[in-house]
């Protein structure tokens, strides 16, 4: 016993170092990586206040740019509206509208240059935002909500190790998974493209609608280059994101009104 105490006395710095490092590393690894930020919710409330102050200052510099973008989006939406009401009046479109609701929010903090990037938004559960909702920007898909507090929400952008989304080639309907490999924030990558699939530069990718996070048909990106593998196996494609992550300001959060019902259905299927 005395030896033990003496040992601890002698090496207390090393032992304390190991203990603290153990605590830090278990915070890093033991929390489920995908929902890591959810357990770290406190930060949204504390740092959210700081980021809001900072944003309210810097926003002035971007007012003109934001206005122009919103005006453009308005124009586009108005065009769509007239198009829809004029030509198509089937039930399916109205159906989609009642299932998916869009909650507008502003980005108060966003990064693009880390390996895993997060977006903090200025609305939380008081505005109806929940975990696992999709985030879309006016230009395309942007990310997924991973944690909410009362007035703020945090989400991982597509520029994240664990953000893989299901996409579809618009021209032939084939499914693929899009992920980000780090590095340049403008480009993502699709692995495992079957060789028989013809992919051309400029092909459009849209959301598949399989994940219930995003409605079907939201723009994700376009094919920038297509890499055939040497051994004749599965091919790869580099995708240019439709969303400019570095200029992310105004976003919409996708609220799928039928999500709980769909999840319940999936659970029933698993039970059987």
């Amino acid at each position: 016993m005395i030896n033990l105490i003496r040992f601890i006395q002698k090496h207390h710095v090393l032992l304390l170092f190991l203990l603290l490092e153990f605590v830090a590393l278990s915070m890093l690894f033991c929390s489920n990586a995908y929902h890591r930020s959810a357990g770290f919710n406190i930060n949204s409330n504390v740092s959210g206040v700081f980021y809001r102050i900072q944003k309210s200052v810097t926003d002035y510099f971007y007012l003109q740019q934001t206005n122009e973008m919103l005006a453009l989006e308005n124009a586009r939406l108005r065009k769509q509206l007239t198009y829809q009401s004029g030509i198509i009046s089937t039930d399916t479109l109205q159906h989609i509208d009642t299932i998916f609701h869009f909650i507008p929010a502003r980005v108060i903090s966003n990064n693009v240059h880390f390996r895993n990037n997060y977006i903090i938004l200025n609305k939380g559960y008081s505005a109806g935002i929940q975990k696992d909702m999709g985030i879309i920007s006016p230009k395309g898909v942007a990310g997924i909500i991973t944690g909410v507090s009362k007035n703020y929400a945090i989400g991982m952008s597509l520029l994240h190790k664990f953000a893989t989304i299901s996409v579809r080639f618009k021209n032939n309907g084939h499914l693929a998974n899009l992920s980000w490999q780090g590095g340049d924030f403008r480009f993502g990558q699709i692995d495992h493209i079957p060789t028989h699939l013809v992919v051309n530069k400029g092909d459009t990718l849209i959301t598949s609608g399989n994940s219930h996070l995003f409605p079907e048909g939201i723009l994700v990106g376009t094919v920038e280059s297509y890499l055939t593998s040497a051994d004749g196996a599965l091919n790869k494609a580099v995708i240019r994101f439709a969303t400019d992550f570095n200029a992310l300001r105004q976003v919409y959060i996708v609220d799928n009104k039928h999500k709980s019902e769909l999840d319940l259905l999936l659970m029933i299927r698993i039970d059987e």
Binding site: H12, V13, L16, F17, L20, E21, V23, A24, L25, S26, M27, L28, F29, S31, R36, S37, G39, F40, I42, N43, V46, S47, F50, Q54, N111, V112, H113, F114, R115, N116, Y118, I120, I154, K161, G182, G183, D184, F185, N246
Partner: protein, 170 residues
């Protein structure tokens, strides 16, 4: 008491610059400068090691709170706090003079401070970027980040240190 105040103020200012300014500056996608380790570097020599470790933990945790990266900066800062006494010895090459109280440029000289700070920054960035990706497939990527970010951080730290030293002399 005034020492305590000085260090606390430095802590707040450095964390503030880090979060509000540096995290938003991007030069290429590989350069992420971090200056908050300067706070840990400038703590007094006489500070007991266990206290240094706890302060390292707290500093890293604060940065983690603001960057939503639980444990990442904490582990890098604790490592920095742990190796600091060894690096002090390494940089000096001889026992410290009795008069030395703080590892500043004014007390220890430019050359000493340069080698001291760049080694600590390197250790910190090495742990930080390797843990951040934690994937052998992205090892090259992490190494680029380390090699480019260390000079960037070191330059900023030296600029800050010389700026404040110059203003104090006047």
């Amino acid at each position: 008491m005034s020492d305590f105040f000085r260090h606390s103020l430095r802590f707040i200012v450095l964390i503030f610059i880090q979060i509000m300014v540096l995290n938003h500056i991007r030069v290429g996608s590989y350069v992420n400068p971090f200056i908050y380790p300067l706070f840990l570097m400038l703590l007094p020599f006489r500070m007991t090691q266990w206290l240094l470790l706890f302060i390292g933990f707290g500093t890293g945790f604060t940065v983690d709170l603001f960057m939503s990266t639980p444990g990442l900066h904490t582990s890098a800062s604790v490592l920095l706090a742990f190796v600091r006494p060894y690096i002090v010895r390494l940089a000096s090459g001889a026992p410290l003079p009795e008069s030395a109280s703080e590892p500043t440029v004014t007390e220890m000289g430019n050359r000493w401070f340069f080698s001291y700070s760049i080694i600590l920054i390197f250790v910190h960035h090495l742990a930080l970027f390797l843990l951040e990706s934690f994937d052998p497939a992205h090892l090259n990527d992490s190494i680029y980040r380390i090699l480019l970010s260390v000079p960037a951080s070191e330059t900023l730290i030296l600029l800050l240190v010389f700026f404040f030293q110059a203003s104090r002399k006047r």
